[in-house]
Symmetry: C2
Subunit: 363 residues, 2 copies
Amino acid sequence: MFFVKHYKAGRFSYHASLTYRQEELMVSIKDVARLAGVSIATVSRALAEPDKVRPNTRDKVLAAVKQSGYVTNSLARSFRTNRNHSVVVLVPDITNSFFSNIIQGIEEVARANGYRILLGDMQNDPANARAYGDLCAQRQADGLICLGRTIPFAYNRSRKTLDPKWPPLVMACEYDDRIAIPGVRIDNERAALDGVRYLGEQGHRRIAYINGPQDSPLCRDRLKGYRKGMAELGLRKTSDLLFGGDFSLDSGAQAARALLQLKSLPTAIFAANDAMAIGALQVLKQRGVRVPDDLSLLGFDDIKFAAYCDPPLTTIAQPRRQIGALSMQIMLDILAGRDGSGGSGESRVLPHELVLRESVARV
Amino acid sequence: MFFVKHYKAGRFSYHASLTYRQEELMVSIKDVARLAGVSIATVSRALAEPDKVRPNTRDKVLAAVKQSGYVTNSLARSFRTNRNHSVVVLVPDITNSFFSNIIQGIEEVARANGYRILLGDMQNDPANARAYGDLCAQRQADGLICLGRTIPFAYNRSRKTLDPKWPPLVMACEYDDRIAIPGVRIDNERAALDGVRYLGEQGHRRIAYINGPQDSPLCRDRLKGYRKGMAELGLRKTSDLLFGGDFSLDSGAQAARALLQLKSLPTAIFAANDAMAIGALQVLKQRGVRVPDDLSLLGFDDIKFAAYCDPPLTTIAQPRRQIGALSMQIMLDILAGRDGSGGSGESRVLPHELVLRESVARV
DNA sequence: GCAAAGAATGTAAACGTTTACAGTGTTTTT
DNA sequence: AAAAACACTGTAAACGTTTACATTCTTTGC
């Protein structure tokens, strides 16, 4: 048993009895400095701003780094610079595959810029958001990207701004019009409108709509687009064709069951997302309703499984990866003090796309 | 313009021109101490070990905390204690929904214990693993949970141990028999065997198998189970019934196309995961092969969409959430120096379950 | 060759905690 | 009532960086 100074915790030792001790091997900038015969300031500079140091010295330092196996203690650096180089990504439900590609886009840009992402899974419970907001307050993260509609920070209603004590916030997909926050999304109203128009072109008039969560601005926009489209088709009263859902497979199935009770069936169903469309699809098939022969089905999001349904689902695609990537890019801009769309507090709108597969037919 | 000490970076200010400055509001333990009329040590103790401090004093401190809006700078704490309270979760592909529930299980336990998870998406490229391993070396994370088969650390081949300089590692789902690492998984060989036995009970003899990535130990086990089961059915030569895949929907579809070229079709297909089963299913239906009437289909994993296929997929379920939760629990044990299954370097084996739906029929 | 300017390096302070140890009350024991 | 034991609080050092400022070395212009 050897002597270990009390204030050093045995970090990586699995057993107290093990003699391996990470901290014994731990080499700091001081060691490198000694080895290279320079001051610690020079080492720091050689590593962080190589051109501020003479090539000769730089080489000495680099050699010492290599020899000693030094690796920067980023904890110390973060502490000193007050920058963590990590960003919380707040996801309503990690299980929802729709978010995967967005996260991937974020992650990619983050990694390319030396940032990491802290995953915040709300498990669909807004109460969980607060905990992740607090992470930022504790400097655990430099900023937060919000994929859902729940903003974990208090905001100043009258000024439509975040309280200045909160870190940068970027919203992806969703937005909140009570407050000016930079974000990235598609034009959901227009997208839904395009969907209805397409169904209209195929001769559909009675088009049912399976809505998402009512409190989601994004859903309100899609609903608005649906109504607008229906109005264009000359149908102002749509209340009997409207079904509630919550984006889950189950809720889509449930909506389909309710829908099949209608005295006069619609000729098409437009679901506010693919999961609900697929849920509905299953019920329809179970009840012997053929898609698209008896009933057409239009989804939203183009998740991976949409192409593997039977029939493959016609749907409206969002550029998910780009949404994620751009969100992170904006976050980086804000953090660097560059004014991306950051300062403006406006959403960047990316194009959507109608993906034609086989779940919609002419009437 | 007010005076700002040079060494304080304007952290949260979106514009240089803005007067909001987070650091102006920044209150440290020192401020709380002054406000409460005690030393900073007492504040620290009142917060960390409340029972080590007189109730009277504690109240004073707590009041001061509240009044000042103090929140501990976890960056400073992490630096001081050399503990980050975060764990990297290395995922082969975040887009693969199979991993979602595992991550969720991990996340849940982590959060309940004051830990956060750093998401590491390998995007199916092992080269990306290294970067996340390095995070640990830099003290960015206290440990790493590996959901795939790629271990981002060098290990000592002869001693079957990790190099002691690496932080704790736990493997979920996969394992690596070249090295002793704690982990959580199911008995994949037995599970596959059970699958084949079930198909045998239904009268199937010619059972095709769509394999996963060859270099995955988990897949090797499943394959072994399949072979064992086939041997039990009296079929030793299975090479013509074996098809390669990589866990993706596409590879399942491709395998099905190859399979349909066989002179004598099998009566059942067993896929090493649900995604491939669903990919295969689509091809079968396109070619007019009815499932399960003409051909039975058995999957593996029980992902969410398995229940929403047509027909709903019979499959073998893994307790994904528990696998994740237990992995994190083991990690916590190791980090706390408690000897969970941590020290042993053995895998905990959780039970699997056959989920009967409608994709398998009697011959 | 010398002064001035500029570049490279060193010195030392600071970031906000935690914690060993010392010191100061407070209670218990004798 | 004094001594001993104990509980609480304060002092100060330490963690490993970054960086303003001071100092030294090198180059440039004359």
